[in-house]
């Protein structure tokens, strides 16, 4: 009884916080209400919905030995304590996605994004992660692609693999663009990030050559050196002789990143990739804990309105109306198809008991959603004028602080004269105008929270700390992603010519790496040269592709449920699947065919063609813009078609099973009784 009472109080507190959010629109309120509403909803959903999924739908059984127990090899199949595995799984799923998406979506105000982050995760994102983790755990840790192949057929498996590869290319391009926009003309940032490369090499040689296997020593040393590089960056930026060496245009940084991605994919893992992986894991967990502590200590007021006029689609950060674009922009915090790859990767091989999957699959995703809520808080603590000055494209703002202030006034927000210059000086940058991509706004928001909570006057250091932390793990995604893309490409190419499929054959490594790097590098350079800043067109493409991958994962989940004879519970994946499909197909359609040239790729191409005809644009530059528009449109169409094919193939399978023309048999590994004491 007292327990029931406690849950009632908790539910009431969460509902009350939502009430406060609803009633205080147009006033400044504390971030505490956002945090309370989110946490209250998570706890209630975890206690009731995830328990229903675990006990009634999946029937998790602790008498059944997990792959970690049956196949224990002390290497990848290792029974791991549930809270430790929770941390590991969280570090693997959390990345730049949940941080950047909410910051961009803040152009609609903080409320629409927060509602989607919180309710999306509870009903869709966490369900997807949980069911894929469950499915993979029952199949010896098989990957999403393998499960799609076994449960729905080889064509679906191949389609899923092509989809993953295509998504990877767009993902890497857009994340690299976020880093480019944060580092251009910033000697401090460039110096710090460049230092991570020798630091990683040093760690690599330490772990591999000098003191084999001493990964913790190497990582602690690496973190300490990183902090030195961060502090040293200030002196570089202030030195008139050194600063020019580290001041580069966006295009130079983009080519540098492309070269880096290629090297990271070709060099042995121990040299660059593995040490960076450890470094960014520790930085990520540490910084996210620090951010949570900062928000809880400071409880900053939210200055962004709950809802802005830009829900009508006229927003400067990205084009498109609240529906469907709020749900595309915030991909990772609410539902992320990419997690299905992690949940069917290392994590299922480490579960000690079946029931642990509930905490790790469902709970881990709730935690990621909480990171997205914190990112939303960090964006909303900025003055709206500052937020829009940082995130609108330069072409819209005009070149100077004065013209930017004028433009922002016409949107109904204010920017004091000198405010942007003062802020740029405070964080040690020359300018913060038009730094699209989310990372700089998040860094300014985080710097305000950190310096408010842990000591004033360190604004510049905190800002560059935040930039370094984001760039560090985005670059880790870039190098691991390029490598993974290389493996997938090699596997696909192996079907055409067998030697190309040998993952350790050097010509094949170089060929496949170059192809993957050229793929995302092309979109990256296109984004850097784009007059509207690139994020405008690439981020929606990324959001669409990530959500479509979620649709593929939810299809696999539904197939597993139906084949296990649980069709009566299939709504738990079918409802989110329907929502994700409606949202992404609408967004995809609008991105391709909308009449508004700010929104539709083809309409933009048509407008550019008119400008060329009227002599208002350089024909060569115009032709390139038109080609890129058509390419973006083609990519969006391919994503939609591949996903629809997977959905149709799955639906056919469901009908066959439900009409008993095909036996309802799942390809689970056989039951083995656990040897652990009950």
């Amino acid at each position: 009884m007292p327990q029931k009472l406690a849950w009632f109080v908790l539910a009431a507190a969460g509902a009350g916080a939502w009430g406060v959010l609803a009633l205080h629109r147009g006033e400044t309120i504390s971030a505490a209400w956002l945090v309370l509403a989110a946490v209250g909803t998570y706890l209630v959903a975890y206690r009731f919905y995830s328990r229903f999924l675990a006990e009634r739908v999946f029937e998790l059984n602790d008498r059944r030995a997990t792959p970690a127990e049956r196949l224990a090899n002390g290497r990848d199949f290792v029974p791991t304590s549930r809270w430790v595995l929770f941390g590991h799984h969280f570090a693997a799923i959390a990345g730049a996605g949940p941080l950047v998406g909410p910051v961009l979506a803040a152009q609609f105000g903080y409320l629409p994004g927060t509602i989607w982050i919180v309710f999306g995760v509870v009903l869709a994102g966490a369900v997807q992660d949980f069911i894929i983790l469950f499915g993979s755990m029952r199949r010896d840790g098989k990957s999403l692609g393998q499960m799609a192949k076994e449960e729905t057929g080889p064509v679906t498996g191949l389609l899923a693999m092509v989809a993953v590869l295509a998504i990877m290319v767009i993902l890497l391009a857009v994340l690299a663009l976020v880093v480019v926009n944060a580092l251009k003309d910033s000697p401090w940032g460039v110096f710090t990030i460049l230092c991570t490369i020798p630091i990683a090499l040093l760690m690599g040689f330490w772990m591999k050559v000098w003191r084999p296997g001493r990964t913790i020593e190497a990582s602690l040393g690496g973190v300490a050196l990183l902090m030195l590089a961060l502090v040293g960056g200030r002196h570089v930026a202030e030195s008139p002789t050194l600063a020019p060496w580290f001041t580069h245009s966006g295009l130079t940084i983009a080519y540098g990143m492309i070269a880096y991605g290629f090297l990271a994919s070709v060099l042995p893992v121990w040299m660059l990739l593995c040490p960076r992986d450890y470094l960014s894991t520790f930085m990520k967990i540490g910084t996210i804990l620090l951010l949570a502590l900062g928000i809880l200590l400071l409880l900053p007021p939210l200055k962004m309105p709950a809802v802005t006029p830009f829900i009508d689609g006229s927003g400067p950060v990205f084009a498109g109306k609240l529906f469907p674009f709020a749900f595309i922009t915030i991909a990772c915090g609410a539902i992320s198809g990419f997690h299905a790859l992690v949940a069917s990767g290392t994590t299922p091989k480490m579960l000690t008991r079946e029931s642990d999957a509930r905490l790790i699959g469902y709970g881990g995703m709730l935690m990621e959603s909480f990171v997205a809520v914190m990112a939303m808080c960090a964006a909303a603590v900025l003055d709206p004028g500052v937020y829009f000055a940082m995130n609108a494209p330069l072409a819209t703002l005009g070149g100077s602080a004065e013209s930017a202030a004028e433009v922002i006034r016409t949107w109904g927000f204010s920017l004091a004269p000198g405010q942007m210059d003062a802020l740029a000086a405070a964080v040690g940058e020359k300018t913060l105008l038009a730094r699209t991509g989310g990372a700089p706004s998040l860094a300014v928001g985080m710097a305000q929270i950190f310096s408010g909570a842990f000591g004033q006057g360190l604004m510049a250091l905190w800002y560059h700390f935040a930039i370094m932390f984001e760039a560090l793990f985005i670059l880790t995604t870039v190098d691991t992603g390029t490598r993974v893309g290389r493996f997938m490409l090699q596997e696909l190419a192996g079907h055409l010519w067998a030697p190309l499929g040998r993952t350790s054959w050097y010509p094949s490594i170089v060929f496949a790496s170059a192809l993957v790097v050229a793929g995302w590098g092309y979109f990256l350079v296109q984004g850097v040269l784009d007059p509207l800043g690139g994020i405008n067109s690439l981020w929606p493409l990324f959001g669409i592709s990530n959500q479509l991958l979620a649709a593929v994962a939810l299809c696999v989940g539904t197939t597993i449920l139906i084949k296990a004879g649980k069709a009566r519970y299939a709504w738990i994946t079918l409802l989110p699947l329907a929502w994700v499909l409606v949202v992404t197909l609408t967004a995809g359609w609008q991105k391709v065919f909308a009449d508004d040239p700010r929104l539709g790729f083809l309409a933009h191409a048509a407008v550019t063609a008119e400008q060329i005809a009227a002599g208002a644009m350089d024909p060569e530059r115009g032709a390139r813009l038109i080609f890129n528009d058509r390419l973006d449109a083609a990519v969006a169409v391919v994503f939609m078609v591949v996903t629809l094919l997977v959905v149709l193939a799955s639906a056919r399978e469901w009908v066959l099973v439900l009409t008993r023309r095909k036996p309802a048999v799942v390809k689970e590994s056989p039951f083995v009784e656990t040897a652990y004491a009950g």
Binding site: P212, D277, C332, T346
Partner: protein
């Protein structure tokens, strides 16, 4: 007051030991498992218990094999 500082250090050390005692695994192993690092001691333990007939590889060989298994296929982390 040196007594006060010593008492503070002692109570901090006490709190640290209490925390470590409550951890599900020792702190070094916890860091390793969270970051997905190799754990040679655990591997040797596993070999001794489950495959006593096999020879125990050196820490260097174990590390190489671990990296191959960990980064050899499939994505292991997200955006």
């Amino acid at each position: 007051m040196p007594g006060k500082a010593a008492r503070l250090t002692a109570s901090l050390a006490g709190a640290w030991h209490a925390l470590v005692a409550r951890l599900p695994v020792p702190p070094a192993r916890l860091l390793r498992q969270v970051a997905g690092m190799p754990d040679y001691a655990a591997f040797v333990e596993h070999l001794r218990r489950c495959h006593p007939e096999r020879t125990v590889p050196s820490e260097r060989d174990y590390f190489d094999a671990f990296l191959r298994a960990r980064y050899g296929d499939g994505p292991s982390r997200c955006c």
